[in-house]
Amino acid sequence: MPFREINSKMVEATVVPGQRMFSQRGAMLAYRGEVAFTPNIQGGQGGMMSMIGRRLANEATPLMTVEGNGTVMFGHGGHHIHVINLAGDTLYVEADRLLAFDGSLQQGTMFMGSQGGVMGMVRGQVTGQGLFTTTLTGHGAVAVMAHGGVIELPIAPGRDVHVDPQAYVAHHGQVRNKLSTALGWREMVGRGSGEGFQLELSGSGAVYVQASEEKL
């Protein structure tokens, strides 16, 4: 069930019986029809072990299950919303940026260290993303939030993209990311250009960048 963008800050989703979707708790603005909202203590899919995993990983955003028959409008905090359609690949996104996603998507938690070892952990700390990030895999749509508009930059072999860690929103596809530093003596004496750390993304896929350096 795809999301329909009403304007840049609201999306509408159609809910049909037998299919459920997840959304951030409290993000419902209005609905039509018979729709039930159930707080999801587990914070997503995957049973008890996944819940413990998310709690430990600090990726546990309060989610609710949306079921029934009707249409639901979502929005949160006046943030811009961007809808990403997944066709079998994996989206990497911070849990607190997730607004809503199809129940058909497989949700997981990924340890940053598993992609890039120790540097992955360092990267997580520097970017403020923490040591874990949320993954969504499968076929379906995801609505993510960002401060300011979102631009999508394609990544292709030989066309690496560098992103300011604070403006990074999400990425999907076969993408390797590593933290590249451009620290010189200027940074050491407090005369840096403010661009000392960058996320270097290579492979094939796409990265989503917001027009702001503010976290949500």
Binding site: H147, G149, D160, H162, S193, G194, E195, Q210, S212, E214
Partner: protein
């Protein structure tokens, strides 16, 4: 080459040349880029001292390289300004990016600054090239001609270009003094020929509070 990617992100295509941008405003880039802070806004020692003294200090970095660089700052709307040898007056905090070929400097604005909350000095950009200025909300560009002077709320003014004289005027009366002012006690009057950029939002100003 400046172009807008949406209304809040500026994309600059570089082929070995350079641009000056607000420090830390890069959000992403493709290709090879180097970022270097320009101490004192890149105007030499005299410029640096002037900026320190006038409170118009701006942290500027020089970006050089091959590829496309994307700039954005706190989700502000971005407006492109083309300069053909004329002069753009803009607040340092509203200036996002300029061609490296453009000269920047500081100038005295007169009484206006005190009430706009901008200080008594403003930044000038002159030469031929492109500049990107930021506004809170989509800015409108208003044309001023000899017969039609323009009055602007000091808190909503962001920039102007062309040969304009600006006068500061106040509508302070007894109502203002007893605290029943309309909040529009001060205006800037622009006369001459040129363009004024106005944002649909007001900064906190002394003028707006009385």
């Amino acid at each position: 080459m400046f172009r807008l990617e949406g209304s809040k992100t500026l994309a600059v295509d570089l082929t070995g040349d350079a641009v000056k941008a607000k420090n830390g405003s890069m959000v992403a880039y493709e290709g090879q880029m180097a970022f270097k802070k320009m101490t004192g806004g890149g105007e030499g020692l005299r410029g640096m001292v002037t900026r320190r003294l006038t409170g118009e200090s701006m942290a500027v970095m020089q970006v050089t390289g091959q590829g496309t660089c994307y700039f954005a700052d706190r989700a502000s709307e971005i407006n492109l300004v083309s300069l053909h040898g004329d002069k753009l007056y803009v607040e340092a905090s509203n200036l996002l990016c300029t061609d490296a070929g453009l000269r920047t400097g500081t100038t005295f604005t007169g009484l206006r600054g005190g009430a706009t909350g901008n200080g008594l000095f403003t930044t000038t950009v002159e030469g031929t090239g492109q500049a990107a200025i930021m506004s809170d909300g989509t800015a409108v560009v208003l044309r001023v001609s000899a017969q039609y002077p323009l009055f602007v709320d000091p808190g909503a003014y962001i920039a102007h270009q062309g040969s304009l004289q600006q006068h500061f005027q106040s509508g302070v009366n007894f109502r203002t003094l007893i605290g029943e002012g309309s909040g529009e006690s001060f205006q800037i009057r622009f006369e001459g020929e040129g363009l004024v950029y106005v944002q649909p939002s007001e900064r906190n100003t002394i003028g707006g509070n009385v």
